[in-house]
């Protein structure tokens, strides 16, 4: 019996040890939820509230879990907001030319992956810092979109209610489909990150580049794949974004940049590479979304929303830091 109990305890402590960073994020989320519940129980016990949250949450989750790979590899991608725009534009263009919307999604995915590939090539082959080159890429793509669209948006209201629409952002038994997509993406990311050779090698690359090269890991390919993965995630988000807003506008995806990065960092993936957590990023994305809706419900002016983003980000980072020192 005693042995069994000790085994239980060690396995629990192992679990905590392994998921320390994600758990801290979970703690932040719970504390926040409790505060909101106390301030305004009516709103926060209402399922409608969560429906509103789920509308945008899926996009944060998808982008944040894909970003983990790039950040763990020791790079950063600041161009995904523009990729969302470009992929959305691709979808709209396909629709306009009268082709099937599903084909549009396929094209959007290809475009997203292609831009990710270009990012990866610039960074690994030319050896330019990812921080800078993806800023450049971001400008380049956004410029292209503006040139091509002449700054005009395109409405896709006519899609509402079609099977295509329902397949991406409708609801099944009251549960939003876009969250199912997000869930699927998270499962894929966790499998890749924790159980696949890709995750194992990308962690080594971000941890010790030199030694990864010496041990025969194909660093360039691994890093490029990470950028491609972000590109694909951006394309999925672009489809959701366009359908949710029922309009494509040339600036779409612009506001996602820092907020997604913040979700990743709040979630406990540090910026120096080598370690990261997908679940943490998911929780980080939840935190961001809950603040978004919670602020108004808690009776604070909407204008202070970003102030609370900032506050939570800094507090969560300090929490992670303290946690680190202890171990």
């Amino acid at each position: 019996m005693a042995g069994h109990r000790i085994y239980m305890i060690t396995s629990i402590s192992r679990f905590i040890e392994k998921n320390r960073r994600a758990l801290i994020a979970l703690l932040v989320l719970s504390v926040m939820m409790i505060i909101f519940l106390i301030i305004n129980p009516q709103v926060f016990l209402n399922p409608l509230m969560y429906k509103a949250i789920f509308k945008t949450l899926s996009m944060f989750i998808i982008l944040a879990s894909a970003m983990v790979f790039v950040i763990v590899s020791g790079e950063i991608d600041l161009s995904f907001g523009s990729i969302v725009g470009l992929a959305g534009w691709t979808l709209v263009l396909t629709l306009e030319s009268g082709l099937s919307p599903y084909l549009g999604v396929l094209f959007a995915l290809i475009v997203g992956a292609f831009i990710g590939f270009i990012n990866g090539i610039i960074i690994t082959r030319l050896g330019i810092s990812s921080l800078v080159s993806t800023i450049g890429m971001s400008f380049l793509i956004r410029g292209l979109i503006y040139i091509g669209t002449k700054g005009m948006g395109t409405s896709v209201v006519y899609l509402a209610g079609t099977p295509f629409y329902n397949a991406f952002i409708g609801s099944i038994w009251g549960f939003p489909v876009n969250m199912l997509w997000a869930l699927g993406f998270v499962v894929l990311s966790v499998l890749l990150f924790d159980y696949h050779i890709f995750g194992a090698q990308i962690s080594c690359v971000g941890d010790n580049l030199e030694s990864s090269l010496e041990m025969g890991i194909n660093v360039a390919t691994i890093k490029t794949l990470a950028f491609v993965y972000v590109g694909i995630a951006s394309a999925i988000v672009a489809v959701q974004f366009t359908l949710t807003n029922q309009i494509f506008y040339p600036g779409s995806g612009d506001g996602l940049l820092l907020i997604v990065l913040a979700a990743v960092f709040i979630g406990g993936t540090p910026g120096w590479g080598g370690i990261g957590t997908i679940m943490g990023s998911v929780i980080g994305a939840c935190i961001i979304s809950v603040i978004n809706s919670g602020i108004i419900a808690a009776g604070v002016s909407y204008l202070f929303k970003e102030f609370f983003y900032g506050l939570i980000i800094i507090l969560a980072l300090i929490g992670h830091k303290l946690n680190e020192k202890r171990c």
Binding site: H196, G216, G274
Partner: protein, 261 residues
Amino acid sequence: MKNKFLELKNISKSFGKVSALERVNFYIKGEPEIVGLIGDNGAGKSTLIKIISGIHTPDCGEIYINGKRMENWSVVKSRASGVETVYQDRALAMQQTLARNIFMGRELTSIFGFVKSKLQFAEADRLMRTIGFTSKVFASDSAVVNLSGGERQGVAIARALYFKANLMILDEPTTALSLTEAQKIFDFIRQARKGGSSCIFITHNIYHAYDVSDRCVVLDRGKIVMETDREHTTVEQLVKDMQKIAQNNGKVREGINNARS
């Protein structure tokens, strides 16, 4: 007499105007042996091993494996021939688990590239015990950053062991180690020789080299200046020889300084 496992003939290498190696001849016997490579900073030790492990390409000279001349020597070819280099602990990914480090770049995967984590952990455990790290403090899923210097070295050696190297190259494995930990490394090297692996052992420390090596090779300013079998010398003799070399060195330096001024 079996073929020599590895033979370098007339190897030269220079970086810009600095010549690191000049017409060096070096070999590893066919039967397992431990070779101590001794030399001062800048003597060309690390250049030599980097050429053997394929990281540097020599400017001229030939490389033979089992008597067969190798063209376009590279890291991949060196690996394929069973040469395994254990760099100092900087070669580890500190935040990753012990198992992940051992299998870095050669993960054991099942279909679709999923990593067999349990098998890796079990193998890592077994390997660390074989080498002699039986402490229960660390587990194969703890991060390398939590291990001691000797244990870290052990992780690097376990890599070589698992992939059944014909020749292991240990780059200063005993610096930054405690005496007992260094002894453990020596024990392991001897064991590995019994198991059929040769070993090149690089060090500043003559006593360490003498302790464990069958043969000592002394490098100085890009040339092999001395080569003795352990049976034909004593450690005192070795130290004396080394001092002579160092004095020569000093004279040359004085000469250079005089010429300059």
